[in-house]
Symmetry: C2
Subunit: 351 residues, 2 copies
DNA sequence: CTGAAAGCGCTTACAG
DNA sequence: CTGAAAGCGCTTACAG
């Protein structure tokens, strides 16, 4: 009994093309890959037939046979964060240009979800992984999902735990210490003496590095940093706004703050406003990341530029290069950062 | 002569596990998929061995055999646009929850790149595609790359040209007309009479729809819209700032503008500032999208909320549902929009 | 220059 | 409950 459904047209494969042209599958396969072995006449006939039947190359089948991969996995905490969105755009640009496709995964900053996402992605056979680790995740668990052979590029954050010799993971890290140092130096130059470091989770590696840069600049200027000038918050606007009170719990209160990142700085601005203070008039602050809003917000924000899109391109290039030489030692690349001065957020200290 | 390289450990496959457990591949395969057919003892032995050897499921091979797919392609203009970044995050959430993986592609608003991206993605065998089309792209070319069978969900913009009956594409569209109408009504309620529609490419469908909503509200209020109150720009901050002059070329100049989207509104604010005008004091404006910056910028921006993350989830759900019923008619879903009033950007008109 | 055969790592009837 | 065989759509030696 014939089906009443419209016939689902079977996908056209090499066999269909070969049959129509009266050649073997091997010949069609060679045409597809532009092998010079096939003679011109045959090639043209085959190409016309490919076109005519609307042939679509099955790359998964080819990858299976060739034991190759044509994808890169990209695992981020949160794609909606503009910093990571720019980064992802850069990765995808370069990955696409190399003829690969990007597999996306997001962890929402949860080590458990990160495990699940990695385990799922790995089954799709990516050639390598670009991972910006969730806070609190560690090498051994990641290694467990990925196996020791998978090329990995770690971006932005170190992973807890030690990396075995056998794993040749690359790293691309921002110069967090230097960035925070530059921001701190700038506030010092503007005349500030009582400067706080505001926001971020103290246990995260990026926060530790930024705090270290901050302390270095303060120490060099022989400025004291009371313990309560180091204030934690989640790296979000909302939590930063909430944490603003802690800044003024100490006596004397700081006149300026180096913020963990731009989101935190924007949140702090909100918090200051709620206390009746005007950021950029009676309190100075700096950010980190140079997200789009940093230029737009009023007062505009002095910050540290990390050029996330370019970082994405760089990450993709590093990983793609690694695929060619999987056995060479992993490298650690520190990307320089740049101070973006927008002094409406940190004018000279009125004496 | 033995190689001096460290031996690259061959990937472990079903064969390895089967051999170690002295069972057939079929049995291992059944264990992997939790078939109740396998007896408990055998199952446990096999599972232990899978664990021990660090077996990784090759989903591409399984998909090939089963003629199924486990991925969804997501094609956007620009991932770095916060609206699309949120959308992508929502898509990936839902796609991941369904056990699929997201393949990413970006077109940079170029129909040519869109063709290339689609042709590349399709070779990786996605089960369906979520496409926010590049401006100026049309159905026939897209259909050419995708074939008539591929499930497609069109988001945000219509595609030029007619869709053949055979293609059951779904659409998820914002209620652009209604959004612009709401914004316009709000400005009218605030006392404005000379209102411009500012920004966007006039030929894009979303701009046309928003303009239509604008005109509808104006007409209902019996307000005239001079031709030079309809001003085009690229939908970016920079170009909008540049186009600001056009707004004041007409006489009398408008006192308010309904902007194509938030990016344009933010650009217009810059442009106004450069002319010595204060947005929210001597000029009123509204945006569209409710991106994060809309709340942060000063003055904060009255705008239209489209909840892009939720739209992403919705898009993914629609497409995943379509995979189950590929032959049903395509549906057109219009998502409601909501006016977000932040009156610092559009205070009552001073008489 | 072209074809026949084997194989990538799985799953699916079909036997037993 | 388990195994032997075939096959998904490609590519790769190997012959000729």
């Amino acid at each position: 009994m014939p089906s009443t459904h419209a016939p689902i047209r079977r996908k056209v494969t090499l066999i269909d093309i070969a049959a129509a042209c009266d050649v073997s599958r091997a010949t069609v396969s060679l045409v597809l890959r532009n092998s010079p072995l096939v003679n011109r006449h045959t090639r043209e006939r085959v190409q016309a037939e490919l076109q005519r039947q609307g042939y679509i190359y099955n790359r998964a089948a080819a990858n299976l046979r060739k034991r190759t991969s044509s994808s890169i996995a990209l695992v981020l905490n949160d794609l909606a964060n503009p910093f990571f969105a720019e980064f992802a755009a850069g990765v995808d640009e370069e990955v696409g240009a190399a003829g690969f496709v990007t597999l996306l995964g997001s962890t929402g900053e949860s080590p458990e979800r990160q495990q699940a996402v990695l385990s799922s992605l790995i089954e799709h056979g990516p050639g390598g992984i670009i991972l910006s680790p969730a806070e609190g995740s560690d090498v051994s668990r990641v290694m467990e999902s990925l196996g020791p052979q998978m090329p990995v590029l770690l971006f932005n954050r170190e992973l807890g735990g030690d990396l075995p010799e056998s794993a040749h993971w690359d790293r691309l890290m921002l110069d967090n210490a230097r960035g925070a140092e530059l921001a701190t130096m700038h506030l010092i130059e503007q005349g500030h003496r009582r400067i706080a470091f505001f926001g971020g989770h103290a246990q995260s590696s990026s926060c530790q590095q930024r705090r270290a840069g901050f302390m270095k600049a303060m120490k060099r200027a022989r400025l004291k940093v009371p313990r309560d000038y180091l204030i934690e918050s989640a790296p979000t606007r909302l939590d930063a706004a909430r944490a603003c009170d802690a800044l003024f719990a100490s006596d004397p209160a700081p006149t300026a703050a180096v913020c963990y990142n731009d989101a935190v700085a924007l949140g702090l601005m909100l918090g200051l406003g709620q206390r009746g203070l005007q950021p950029g008039r009676n309190f100075a602050l700096t950010g980190f990341d140079n997200i789009g809003e940093a230029a737009m917000v009023s007062p505009s924000l002095t910050t540290i530029s990390t050029a996330p899109r370019e970082r994405g391109r760089q990450a993709a290039r590093l990983l793609l290069a690694r695929l060619e030489h999987p056995q060479e030692r992993g490298e650690r690349t520190i990307v320089p950062v740049e101070l973006i001065v927008r002094d409406s957020s940190c004018p000279p200290l009125a004496a």
